[in-house]
């Protein structure tokens, strides 16, 4: 079933970490397996934020000598970043296996990302000037507490509560997905893609990498591929309605935009609230109401509808 949500504050940054946590906690019944957040902070000039992990949560209970392996893997990541000319500014250990770095680098971000992911067990969850992506097993309250998202100040966010239907219960299959290697692009999705393998083969032939067997990851890579060839986000989303088969509603965010698309069968729900300074969307209205104490008017987008909002 899965629950998806998004919020954008137009010109007025605020505590989107707390707001998205509240929305996703309201959607817990739609998917208790894992929860993920893509939150967009206020970018610092010439500075990047990278969230990455060097092990899965389940490895912590089963891996032999896993604690030493994590330490070794992180040391390799650090040395590779220095080798590639990245100037590390801050290093936060969020959980034993997940980290948040800020750094400066002139160019060559894709090469750096590839080099880091070449380290055994390493996966970059997000890389960009504004995007910070965290996901883990557990409900929104647990994950937000674990990753200290309760006071995250930012402009917009998307989130996901997952009910595993097509792939495993692990962090790798949890949403959101970062559109590797594009800065600040993330996707959450509710539905099933039925031409997943066709598109995956096509995109792999074009040099894109997949970290999971989850069909939702494909949407992120698909959009990234389109944008790489110069297609605007909104046009890429409209193309997806024709080219991706299945039933789906997805939400995408970039450094300054938030968008949603609903397939032609309109079999997956989405409710919208829009005002001059705020847009909120979710699989269920109850999530939107969790952050608005006053009475609001909401509506459903229709089949084949694509909407994009700018900061």
């Amino acid at each position: 079933m899965c629950g998806i949500a998004g919020i954008i504050r137009r010109g007025n940054p605020g505590n989107i970490g707390e707001e998205m946590t509240s929305m996703l906690q309201s959607l817990k019944h739609r998917g208790p397996d894992s929860t993920g957040f893509a939150v967009y902070g206020v970018p610092e000039k010439n500075q990047y934020v990278m969230r990455f992990k060097v092990a899965e949560q389940e490895d912590m209970n089963s891996g032999f000598d896993i604690h030493q392996q994590i330490k070794d893997r992180r040391d390799i990541v650090d040395s590779r970043m220095k080798e590639m000319g990245a100037e590390i500014i801050t290093q936060d250990t969020v959980t034993e296996y997940a980290f948040r770095y800020t750094f400066r680098k002139e160019n060559g971000l894709r090469r750096l990302a590839d080099y880091i992911e070449d380290v055994e067990g390493a996966e970059i969850l997000s890389l960009g000037s504004a995007l910070e992506l965290v996901k883990d097993l557990g409900d929104a309250g647990v994950v937000a507490g674990q990753y200290n998202l309760g006071n995250f100040n930012g402009t917009h966010a998307i989130g996901h509560t997952r009910m595993a239907t097509e792939s495993d219960v692990d962090i790798r299959s949890a949403h959101p997905y970062w559109a590797y290697p594009f800065n600040d692009v993330s996707v959450v999705h509710n539905g099933q893609l039925t031409n997943y393998w066709n598109w995956r083969r096509t995109l792999e032939h074009r040099g894109h990498r997949f970290m999971s067997n989850c069909d939702s990851e494909l949407i992120a890579v698909y959009l990234a591929d389109k944008m790489d060839s110069g297609v605007e986000l909104e046009k890429a989303m409209k193309d997806s309605l024709d080219e991706l088969d299945g039933v789906f509603t997805y939400v995408v965010a970039t450094s300054d935009r938030l968008g949603m698309a609903k397939d032609l069968m309109a079999a997956k729900p989405m409710v919208l609230y829009e005002s001059d300074d705020f847009v909120a969307l979710a699989s269920e209205e109850v999530a939107i109401r969790s952050i608005f104490p006053h009475e609001i008017d909401t509506f459903d987008p229709y089949e084949g509808e694509v909407r994009v909002w700018q900061l």
Binding site: V271, E284, E295
Partner: protein, 279 residues
């Protein structure tokens, strides 16, 4: 018009259900057989109660409504439903029930008799399997609005999502705005009045029943064909809309009428095994 004329000539179109798989759901003679084993309360419509649902779970809200009916309250106002799911379901009673706010998914399903008004919006699968009574939604509604309803008047004054009136078996659905794709899908009986635009595949695979549309129809579904509006129908629509303070933008007589072409396989009278023999 040619298609519908052809179906009439072939004796394929009538208001009477046909085919071996169809059933007659209601019969006036069977009234005495309708008994409610529980939840039949003697209520007084002049006795009014009000409660705040802000901090209550869905189950508690439904129980509270029942408690109040048991105490004889015939008019209940629920404040702050906050889009919670499955509220106002299974009410088999005369009752005036007002929700001041919005409902979530599966609201007011399986009701038989109450008059309900929602001041806000309702989520997916609202009033599923409604049997009788009237329900008025003042704002918008989600998808599968009025799925499989068998009777009563179900009114949404705003826009409604996709698959409105899917599998409806009777009653009337009125939509003040537009509807999404596959509205009236597999409709079997009853009437749907859409004053705005209708989405793609309207009336797909409908067995019977009638759909009236005031705006544009994106496309008709399989076996849905245009029908001819009668004076009697136009009068009925005008009266019906007036009951809820609504009006067809260009007059009821100018609504488009959509009916089943009845050319699908299920309209022959042969069972699959018999078909094999014949063929």
């Amino acid at each position: 018009m040619a298609t519908i004329d052809k179906s009439f000539d072939a004796g394929l179109h009538s208001e009477q259900l046909s085919g071996r798989t169809q059933e007659i759901f209601f019969s006036a003679e069977e009234d005495e057989n309708f008994v409610y084993p529980y939840n039949a309360f003697e209520v007084d419509s002049s006795k009014k109660a009000e409660f705040d649902a802000q901090s209550l779970e869905s189950t508690d809200i439904n129980l509270k409504i029942r408690e109040l009916m048991k105490e004889g309250f015939g008019h209940i106002v629920v404040q702050n439903p906050r889009a919670k799911h499955s509220i106002g379901v299974g009410i088999l009673n005369r009752l005036q029930l007002d929700f001041e706010g919005s409902l979530g998914y599966f609201g007011c399903g399986l009701v038989d008799g109450p008059n309900i008004r929602i001041s806000g919006r309702v989520g997916w699968s609202f009033a599923e399997n409604m049997m009788a009574g009237t329900i008025i939604v003042e704002k918008n509604a989600g998808s599968t609005f009025g799925a499989a309803i068998r009777g009563g008047d179900l009114v949404c004054k705003g826009d409604v999502g996709s698959r409105t009136g899917i599998d409806m078996k009777g009653g009337t659905i009125i939509v003040g705005g537009r509807t999404g794709t596959l509205s009236g899908f597999m409709m079997q009986r009853g009437r749907m009045i859409i004053l705005g635009d209708a989405g793609p595949n309207l009336g797909d695979s409908m067995y019977d029943g009638t759909i009236f549309v005031g705006g544009n129809i994106a496309s008709l579904g399989v076996d849905a064909v245009a029908g001819e509006m009668t004076e009697l129908e136009a009068e009925w629509i005008e009266r019906k809309l007036a009951l809820y303070g609504m009006k067809a933008p260009n007059g009821a007589a100018n609504l488009q009428k959509i009916v089943a072409g009845k050319q699908l396989w299920n309209y022959d009278n042969l069972e699959p095994t018999e078909k094999k023999i014949v063929l």
